[in-house]
């Protein structure tokens, strides 16, 4: 179960399936190696995400090539227009905006947990999350915003 989430996070950060697989392996290896250093001052999940993020950054530095991004393919189900648009916009976020967005929006972490992973202050997460979100919404405003399904 963890493995799937670790892979997803790595995939969002690296944008490449094969790299994400390598990062997942590497992250678990590091996690295992440092399991004893896990101090319990943050959640295990935050700690693991932090390792995944570091591994992803290492992998990206080693690769340093954006052509490797094979993500996101337009996902194949209902309402494809919205999703293709949204994912196009997500792909173009800067890393500063992408990381909190993925942790909070995709993985459902709290701001505090995201701050633990990213090793920044909660206020920083808050403003980055908001700025990233605004960039995404602006990307969608040339289409009229319809009544969303969440407003019951």
């Amino acid at each position: 179960m963890y493995q799937a989430d670790v892979w997803r996070f790595a995939y969002h950060l690296t944008g490449n399936r094969a790299t994400a697989e390598d990062v997942t392996q590497e992250a678990f290896l590091r996690a295992f190696r440092f399991l004893r250093s896990f101090r319990g001052d943050s959640k295990f999940s935050s700690w693991l995400f932090r390792i995944v993020r570091n591994c992803s950054m290492d992998a990206l530095k080693a690769r340093r090539s954006l052509e490797l991004r094979d993500y996101p393919q337009p996902p194949p189900a209902t309402d494809p227009a919205t999703r293709a648009e949204v994912w196009d916009a997500v792909r173009n976020l800067s890393r500063e905006h992408l990381e909190p967005f993925v942790l909070i929006e995709v993985f459902g972490l709290s701001y505090q947990e995201a701050a633990d992973v990213l090793q920044v202050r909660v206020g920083t997460v808050k403003s980055r999350m908001h700025r990233g979100r605004r960039v995404l919404i602006q990307g969608l405003t040339d289409h009229d915003v319809e009544e969303g399904a969440g407003e019951l």
Binding site: W87, H130, R134
Partner: protein
């Protein structure tokens, strides 16, 4: 409060952060007056929906490589050695995961797996104290709903229902729907129409469905085509009553998915968890699926009355109570495709933008007490009989001449009702149906000693999947389809059994395995007449060796689909192959078929709407009405169809065709897993490759069990 501040606070609130009450009030005050910030909020929700939809993507299973990698850590190296690990498959793009070809300590791996499990990895919640991820929830849901269903005793709820575009003069109709249940088989559904009709000639869509075990009653308006209104010539309400009903009859059904969507959510493969909301004060999980998948939830609409139509690909958003799993609300959103628009035009519907719901149901109240039994009293009107004769179990031998077989395992279900179904001409047959139930979960076993058909007994196809029963023996298995639940047909010398149940597949197989019969499949059933020729069922391996042309199979299929049968069709000298793919639990979308035969041209056009498409580098043809894609490559004609697939999905399947890659001959695998397919009858493993040693070290004795071959198509 200015917009900048409001947006920041909105962002926090959307992400589930707690706002100070004063900030909360200021934000709501600002939102009420500021269209720009409302647009921001709507945009944020749209982004969320777009993002969360993606979570059901295929995640590679890396547990083995991780465990292998972890176990190669120097400290653990002294432990017992097993063959080195080889990555199972090169990922697209040609890069392989970094192979770790040092020896692997199996014991160490096991210890580590345990260690990680102990660190709160495994369990229902992935993130302790917080929400499991949507993908995890999607996997968990069917099990949770079943759990709730087996414990459900009683229920009453009232829904407010709104329907758009029933008829041009009636763009909006309003209803309340009351639903009562006393498990297992007392059910009542009342629809009251609150629409202000222009005048009294319009028939009101008031509906009442009552079910009291063997009695079933329906009263509702006559169904007229929508454009006939307001003058429906068929007149007032019509009533229908059925008595001597067969337990859990599909002909006089109980649309209980409106209470708990057991059939709708039987399979998580295509279910997407969108997030959380609060509905009528209850915490709810919001999931999305297609109308086709959600159709059991709307079954009550098909029982009677006149309702607007829906397109199979329309999107249903469903809110489930996160404790009881009752549906609290659901909405239907139009699909966004040219086919949908053409269909809407044919149905006389106005343009329907995909962001606007066209049908909405929302719970007003619910209650889990068992309703008073007189709620289910059925008006005395003339009845037609379904012919089932309810008897006691110990009376059966004197009536039909045999004692019914009884499973020793019933997954917690208790004996509910025993009936003798009608035979031809309405007289009692020499068959029995023994029904078991717990809450809304049920199972029925139908038995005969005089089946002479050339295929499985009961509504089960001779092309159904053949499954090995856990204790030995073989059965035919069919997933849930519209109207019928999961089914098994079992043949044993002198006795044929048909099982139907809304239990999950594994549970059904477990029950079947506890029946005191030794099942087998007569070889004569493998050959069936087929349109002027014969169709022979065989394994993919046999097919490859028998036909004089190369055989391909798709590597990419929609989630959950797998090969369940291969059929060789002979018409004179012509030979062709059909490969059938289905989903294991619920198959509301239907099967996918791949047809392969020698040929150099596409057959003549056979549908009015067809379009030329490119399949890789080959010209092909798409027939939307049949969901079919055809093409010719290297002297072979291919056709893929079914399951309501669109062009892009069909193309993905077509372009993933690869020659069947048969593993080197090996003795037939014997499997003990409950859900495995019988190797000789259906699939040959093709998507999993067995790790092979690549280092120079010979694999030590006793290590072979680490490289267990996986039987084809095991459920994920």
């Amino acid at each position: 409060m200015n917009c900048e501040r409001a947006e920041l606070a909105l962002s926090e609130r959307i992400d589930g952060e707690r706002l100070a009450p004063r900030l909360e009030r200021a934000l709501d005050g600002h939102l009420a007056e500021c269209p720009r910030c409302r647009a921001f909020e709507a945009g944020a929700r749209r982004v969320r929906e777009g993002v969360r939809f993606r979570l059901a993507e295929a995640v590679p299973d890396l547990v083995e490589p991780i465990m292998a990698a972890v176990a190669t850590e120097p400290k653990r190296r002294r432990l017992r050695i097993i063959p080195p690990f080889e990555p199972r498959r090169a990922p697209p793009g040609g890069r392989r995961p970094r192979p770790r070809r040092r020896e692997v300590a199996r014991l160490g791996v096991a210890l580590l797996a345990g260690a990680f499990a102990g660190t709160a990895i495994i369990g229902t919640g992935v993130w302790p104290g917080r929400e499991p991820s949507p993908a995890v929830l999607a996997q968990e849901l069917p099990r949770q709903v079943l759990q709730a269903a087996t414990h459900l005793k009683g229920y009453h709820a009232q829904f407010a229902v709104t329907e758009w575009h029933f008829q041009p003069r009636l763009p909006l109709r309003h209803f309340t729907v009351d639903v009562w249940l006393a498990a297992p088989e007392r059910f009542r559904l009342d629809v009251v129409d609150h629409t202000p009709y222009p005048n009294a000639t319009w028939p009101r869509n008031d509906l009442s469905l009552i079910l009291d075990r063997s009695d079933w009653y329906l009263s509702g308006p006559a169904q007229c085509p929508a454009d006939a209104y307001p003058n429906c010539p068929l007149g007032g309400p019509q009533t229908r009553r059925v008595d001597h009903r067969i337990p859990f009859s599909e002909a006089a059904p109980m649309p209980s998915d409106i209470v708990l969507p057991l059939t709708t959510l039987a399979d998580s493969n295509r279910l997407t968890v969108l997030g959380r909301d609060t509905i009528a004060g209850h915490a709810a999980i919001r999931v999305a699926l297609t109308y086709r998948q959600a159709s059991p939830l709307f079954a009550f609409l098909h029982q009677g009355g006149a309702w607007r139509p829906f397109f199979p690909d329309d999107r249903v958003v469903l809110w489930l109570d996160d404790r009881s799993w009752f549906p609290l609300a659901y909405r239907v959103y139009p699909a966004d495709s040219p086919q949908r628009r053409a269909w809407a035009a044919r149905e006389g519907l106005p343009p329907e933008p995909p962001g606007r719901d066209v049908f909405s149901a929302r719970i007003l109240s619910f209650d889990e007490r068992v309703p008073a039994l007189d709620t289910f009293a059925i008006p005395s009107v003339p009845a037609t009989s379904e012919g089932a004769q309810t008897v006691d179990l110990d009376e059966v031998p004197s009536k039909v001449g045999f004692e019914p077989v009884v499973p020793s395992e019933t997954e917690g279900l208790g004996l509910y009702r025993v009936v003798i179904p009608p035979g031809v001409s309405g007289a009692p047959s020499d068959q029995t149906i023994v029904a078991y139930s717990a809450g809304l979960a049920w199972l029925k076993v139908r038995e005969t000693h005089s089946w002479h058909g050339n295929g499985p007994f009961g509504p089960v196809s001779s092309l159904a999947e053949r499954v090995a029963l856990p204790g030995g023996g073989v059965a035919y298995y069919e997933p849930a389809t519209r109207g019928l639940e999961r089914r098994l047909s079992i043949h044993a010398p002198g006795i044929d059994l048909f099982l139907e149940s809304n239990l999950p597949r594994a549970a059904l197989l477990h029950v079947a395995a506890s029946l005191p019969v030794s099942s087998r499949i007569p070889s004569s059933w493998d050959v069936q007449p087929s349109k002027g020729g014969v169709a022979e069922r065989l394994s993919l391996r046999q097919a490859v060796s028998r036909v004089p042309f190369p055989v391909s199979e798709p590597e990419a299929l929609p989630a959950g689909y797998r090969l369940i049968a291969t059929e060789l069709v002979r018409l004179g000298n012509l030979q062709s192959l059909n490969l059938y793919f289905r989903q294991p639990a619920a198959d509301l979308e239907g099967q996918i078929r791949l047809h392969i035969e020698p040929g150099t041209d596409l057959p003549l056009a056979s549908a009015s709407q067809q379009s030329a498409v490119q399949v890789g580098d080959t010209p092909g043809r798409f027939t939307p009405s049949r969901h079919e894609l055809e093409w010719v490559r290297d002297g072979i004609y291919y056709a893929v169809d079914g399951a309501g697939l669109g062009l892009s999905e069909l193309l993905a399947i077509a372009e993933s065709l690869r020659p069947v890659d048969l593993p080197s001959p090996s003795p037939p695998t014997t499997t003990t897993s409950s859900a495995t397919t019988v190797p000789s009858a259906t699939t040959v493993p093709s998507t999993t490759s067995v790790p092979t040693p690549t280092s120079s070290e010979p694999p030590p004795a006793g290590a072979a069990h680490t490289a267990e071959p996986t039987a084809g198509g095991g459920t994920p």
